[in-house]
């Protein structure tokens, strides 16, 4: 059942009858959903239900796996993503991973890497981008005096904010986050959640999380995925986060969020 009750908001990404296969194994089964613009959409569901596979489809990262085949459409701002050059698409749709993965380079070089790859050479412009990105990721004040220090010397929470700053540096429109706080302590987790809340003003955010409380705290909309008997992931229910966590419509959602399975 799909209840696009956020239909009044502008849609950023529209997923239409999307299927994904790893060889013969179907990982995603006929997903249709609109992801609203400038909102935080959380995806929850039991392990193996295809949450990460689903968001990796948004910037075609699954294509790096040779056996992957897809059906259906994913439309970003009216354009079919499969008709956009993957490098350009990944500039528009950035990604932050579960474990902070800074490059073994200086803080400055971590941020400047993407813009350089997209052709920016002017040192002054790069400096501006680095400062702006670090400010947006609420890390600037903590690292402004040590930009030449290795990114790996930062704490886990700082490293993750560095990775978010790195994603912001190429001025994406959508930021995908796959369990961005699962390796962090509670304080660093709350900092990331506050940061995400600030970022939605400029970006559309899709976040996969195992932490139900995090989805409840940090998102505007929630999609609940489950795994069918053939292990294909499917969308059970979507809606405003406040509705999903207080009064879900589907019995499976109810059981999952109240800890009865998963």
């Amino acid at each position: 059942m799909i209840d696009n009750n956020h239909i009044n908001l502008k849609t950023k990404i529209s997923v239409e009858n999307f299927n994904l296969f790893y060889g013969k194994f179907q990982a995603l089964d006929n997903i249709s959903i609109d992801i609203p613009s400038n909102q935080i959409t959380a995806i929850i569901g039991p392990s193996g239900c295809g949450k990460s596979t689903f968001i990796r489809s948004f910037n075609r990262m699954n294509e790096l796996i040779p056996t992957v085949r897809t059906e259906g459409r994913i439309i970003l701002d009216g354009k079919d993503i499969f008709e956009i050059d993957p490098v350009e698409l990944r500039k528009q749709v950035g990604m932050v991973f579960q474990r902070p993965n800074p490059f073994p380079k200086s803080i400055f070089e971590n941020i400047a890497f993407g813009p350089r790859a997209h052709g920016i050479r002017d040192r002054r412009i790069l400096e501006e981008i680095v400062e702006k990105s670090l400010r947006q990721a609420v890390l600037w004040d903590e690292v402004k005096d040590s930009l030449t220090k290795s990114g790996l010397a930062l704490s886990g929470g700082q490293q993750q904010r560095l990775c978010i700053a790195r994603a912001l540096a190429v001025e994406p429109e959508v930021i995908l986050m796959d369990e961005p706080a699962s390796a962090l302590d509670p304080v660093a987790t709350l900092k990331i959640e506050e940061l995400i809340e600030q970022l939605k003003e400029k970006y559309t955010i899709v976040i996969v999380t195992h932490n139900m409380q995090q989805a409840a705290r940090a998102s505007d909309f929630t999609l609940f995925f489950n795994m069918a008997e053939n292990r294909a992931g499917y969308l059970v229910e979507s809606g405003k986060t406040t509705d999903i966590f207080t009064n879900p419509k589907n019995e499976l959602t109810e059981q999952y969020i109240s800890g009865r399975f998963g």
């Binding site: 207080t246 969020i257 109240s258 800890g259």
Partner: protein
Amino acid sequence: MARELFERKIKQIQDEILLLGSMVEQATLDSVTSFKNRDIEAARALIEDDQNINDKRFAIENAILILLATQQPLAHDLRQLAAMLLVANELERMGDYAKGVANNTIRLGINDLPIPYRDIEKMGELAVSMLHRSLSAFINEDISQAVAIPREDDAVDDLFNKCYRTIVNGMIANPATIDDASLLLWVVHNLERLADRVVNICERTIFIKSGEMMEMDGTDDELEA
């Protein structure tokens, strides 16, 4: 099913709410009896015993807060705990109505007045019967009962109006009794309000089951005894 410990704790709180409900039922019936018998000693004992009702309410509230803090309930579980918090509060307030009846029994002393005892007794019995069944419906999440019980409030309201008219007519006929007769108005008011709060319990039952906040009775103006 997972979460056996959590479900066991919910069950314990439900049992405590039923126990608190039965304390309030007994207090209400006793308050009407002591009023009818003009038994000042019994009324004093009732006022003292109200502390047990208050204590029980706080114990329930504490148990619910601990579950909210430690178990992160969501969806049905969250609605159920939130509703139990409110129902414990409703029951405590009902206990205050019984205490109010006892207070007025003491203030009334042994002054002689025309009192519609039978109708006041009937009000108490009806309200207590509604309360008893509403708590069963609350625990069993019985929507059909939760919808049906509030309709009985009309009978309590009718009795209230009848008593009110009798008491006011007595005041008009004998203005010297106005001070004492006004105490009688508080007695019937308290019983009428108790039945109103039963309606709130029924509303919470529907909320637990459906997530819908439904107003079943618009009159919620409050006066203190």
